[in-house]
């Protein structure tokens, strides 16, 4: 059924999104928004975090109005149940990013051992730097030997009992003292997740406060452990991102080229596809089939990984993944894991699109499964690119609709290294700009899309307000793609910023919104914050910083938000987390936690009001610093 104009506008602010929502409806597709509509109204107990399915005496629900049951069958009250549920969300999110990190450690080891043809070590400099942090001397060792040693040392971070994770050495001393005092210093990556699952088993930890504290420790094991390992090894294997120009929106899918779309989170597969797409033999085959070339485009964070390092264009973010297929121009979509809607395979059957799943741990309905392993990845990538090229001829002309709007230009690739380089070799100019007030502060606007919030409006509205107030915005993940589509990631966007930030952007030739990578790369923001704090000899929580996830949906986002707050960054969430069933927990996380960690959460679905709160927060922090 066709959609009314008002319905479409209520779903997304993006031009390409609005066009292809109608195309999808014309083609009879059911999208994430349609499925959201029929799920409404959603279960109130679950929304409040008051339902528990942890054991088979239940399921149990607590009556939030106090008339019905106030305890689950085991005796758990609202506070315990909410804390247990939140803990499990953190554990799942932390496990996901950290398992992604583990996959990269495995590749690093195999590269060092010579079992991964096609992969190389692109940044020996970073390899040596990280190895040194792990106490491994580089002198006289080949990069391969060093890679193997580092991989083994990192594998130790996952399971072994330690006092603290190695990367904690990067954390400001004051912050580490706070963690030690609270007993939330993360010890092992898998250990904290595993312990969370243990604690939330029936009859283990039934103190909501200690459950929440362990939740913070679990999240820290992701932020300063699993995710950080994932980012650092990606840089070692695939290169440290440097500023690069590219384009974004569905207009990047080319009518006269073989379009291969890469979706998911893991750069291990996409990097090999990138190599294969440059292969002269396959390019010749493409031209033989009548195509003018092989065009790679990204979705979600696999896309962000390739964008940051290779400048490949982005087709869209989370809510655009189904609509990308509705162009009829995707000859192959490759997916690895995380945030891949299981609906994609079925939608692709309406077109000629080949859907390929690539991870041994992630299979989806209606997709062909081609597993990637480091040993054979190079050959597999060529095989798949060849299949995509051959599929070009099978396009269904009646179903093709190229995007009428031109792709938006953008600048990406702002790793911490790239930012420091842009500043002339140290963070001092940034600190000076903050001191002078040209830059009032910095905010990480990150996170997913959620059909509960008009697509991209949360991100874009909030970010526009922040830069108007001379606040530098750094971003990752789906938020980063939203900002790019809105045209905020070109140097000319500086005109939309306040006068101070405008001056800084013009002097450095940078946009007011800096793309720092995929969602696992939120640790880059964390690293930048730690570097600033360390340079000033202070704590992260003293700096005029904040974070926001205006449209978050995933468990990974819960873990990220928790490690941000635990690291001392005030964090505003747009979508309410399922904790409101326990007023005690809401009060702790939004108020009392400030006294313990120097940072707290806030929940504010309205991006205008969220911007106001963040601006006030930054003003307060500046005042406390005497600025």
């Amino acid at each position: 059924m066709l959609l009314k104009k008002a319905e479409i506008q209520a779903r997304t602010i993006t031009e390409d999104g609005q066009i292809f929502l109608q195309k999808a409806a014309q083609d009879g597709l059911e999208t994430v928004w349609d499925r959201y509509e029929v799920q409404k109204p959603q279960c109130g107990f679950c929304e409040l975090g008051l339902s528990c399915r942890n054991c088979s005496m239940g399921p149990c629900r607590i009556d939030p109005f106090g008339e019905g049951p106030q305890r689950g069958i085991c005796g758990a009250d609202a506070d315990i149940i909410v804390a247990r549920n939140l803990g499990r969300m953190i554990a799942a999110g932390s496990a996901s990013h950290s398992d992604h990190g583990r996959d990269l450690v495995e590749v690093l080891r195999k590269v060092g051992e010579g079992y991964a043809p096609g992969y190389t070590i692109r940044s020996v400099e970073k390899l040596q730097k990280v190895a040194a942090e792990f106490g491994i001397a580089s002198d006289g060792k080949t990069p391969s030997a060093l890679a193997v040693e580092l991989a083994y040392a990192m594998e130790e971070e996952f399971g072994t009992r330690k006092k603290a994770l190695t990367f904690l050495a990067r954390v400001p001393e004051k912050r580490r003292a706070i963690w030690n005092k609270l007993g939330i210093t993360p010890r092992g990556i898998d250990r904290e997740t595993s312990e969370m699952m243990h604690r939330t088993h029936m009859g283990v930890d039934n103190d909501w406060q200690s459950l929440l504290l362990h939740g913070l420790r679990n999240a820290l094991s992701d932020g300063w452990g699993g995710s950080l390992i994932a980012t650092e090894i990606s840089d070692i294997l695939f290169g440290i991102p440097q500023p690069v120009t590219s384009e974004v929106n569905l207009g990047v899918l080319k009518e006269d080229q073989v379009n291969i779309v890469l979706h998911g989170h893991n750069p291990i597969v996409s990097e090999m596809i990138y190599e294969a797409a440059q292969d002269s033999e396959l390019l010749a085959l493409a031209s033989q089939k009548g195509a003018k070339g092989i065009n790679l485009a990204g979705l979600c964070c696999t896309g962000n990984e390739l964008l940051m390092r290779r400048g490949i264009p982005m087709a869209g973010n989370h809510l655009m993944t189904e609509l990308a297929l509705s162009t009829g121009l995707v000859d192959m979509m490759l997916v690895d894991y995380q945030c891949i809607m299981p609906s994609l395979g079925e939608i692709a059957t309406c077109y000629h699109t080949l859907m390929i799943s690539t991870s041994d741990k992630a299979k989806y309905p209606h997709m062909a499964h081609h597993e990637f392993h480091p040993e054979t990845a190079q050959a597999k990538a060529r095989e798949l690119v060849r299949l995509a090229v051959e599929n070009y001829a099978r396009r269904i002309p009646a179903k093709i609709q190229p995007a009428p709007n031109a792709p938006t230009r953008m600048l990406a690739g702002f790793s911490v290294e790239a930012i420091v380089a842009a500043l002339g070799g140290s963070v001092t100019p940034l600190i000076e700009a903050i001191k002078s007030g040209d830059i009032q502060g910095a905010v990480g606007v990150v996170g997913c899309n959620n059909p509960k919030i008009q697509h991209d409006s949360g991100h874009v509205t909030l970010t526009r307000r922040l830069i108007q107030n001379d606040i530098l915005v750094v971003d990752t993940g789906c938020a980063a793609v939203a900002h790019a589509k809105a045209g905020l990631k070109v140097p000319e966007a500086a005109t939309q910023a306040g006068p101070g930030l405008q001056r800084v952007c013009k002097a450095l030739g940078i946009p007011p919104v800096l793309h720092m990578g995929s969602c696992v790369d939120n640790v880059r923001i964390l690293n930048l914050a730690a570097t600033l704090a360390n340079t000033l000899g202070t704590d992260i929580s003293d700096l005029p910083l904040a974070a926001a996830a205006p449209e978050w949906y995933s468990e990974k986002a819960v873990s990220i938000a928790c490690y941000a707050v635990a690291s001392g960054v005030f964090t505003v969430l747009g979508t309410p987390p399922p904790i409101f069933g326990s007023p005690k927990i809401v009060k702790l996380l939004t108020e009392d936690i400030e006294g313990l960690l120097g940072a707290s959460f806030a929940v504010e679905p309205d991006p205008e009001k969220a911007a106001e709160r963040i601006v006030n927060h930054i003003r307060q922090k500046r005042k406390a610093l005497g600025l």
Binding site: P41, G44, F45, E47, L48, D63, E67
Partner: protein, 184 residues
Amino acid sequence: MPESIRERVMVRFERCVGCHSCELACRVAHSRSGSLAVAILEEPKPKRRIFVEQAAESPAPFLCRHCEDAPCVRCCPTGALRFDEASGLVVYGVDRCIGCHACVMACPFGVIQPGAGDLFVVKCDRCPDRDLPACVEACPTKALVLERDFLLDRRRRTVRRFVEAARTAGTEADFVATGSIGNP
């Protein structure tokens, strides 16, 4: 049925999964804020007008039937409860209520309850501001439906049972042979 007469909320007991979503939605619909997260903090707590009880093996939601010859209306000494011909609902006017709770005793279903705070009694008002009552809208399995849908569903299921019974009982030829149809 004239359009001005509101339809009753009917219950398809066999569909109820006991999720209590209707109870939550009812409370939110009758809260001051209208939002779940805020409503749970309101004092006095918003009251529900629908009750999911465990009856024998199955859960069963129950709410005011808006009886035409209602015991609550008949026993109400002040006319606070009355049957409204225009809407087809048993309506409650708190301004005339003296809080005797005779209606609470008289209701055979136990769905009129003593109020708290500014209300003497609390009963289903069929969400006057909404097209669909909040409980019906919230029911994920459509155990709660309006009268029209309920009747349609009942009729169709019954017809289906008849047809299926006829099919399994014999072919058309059997009927012809026994003289039931086509052989006057």
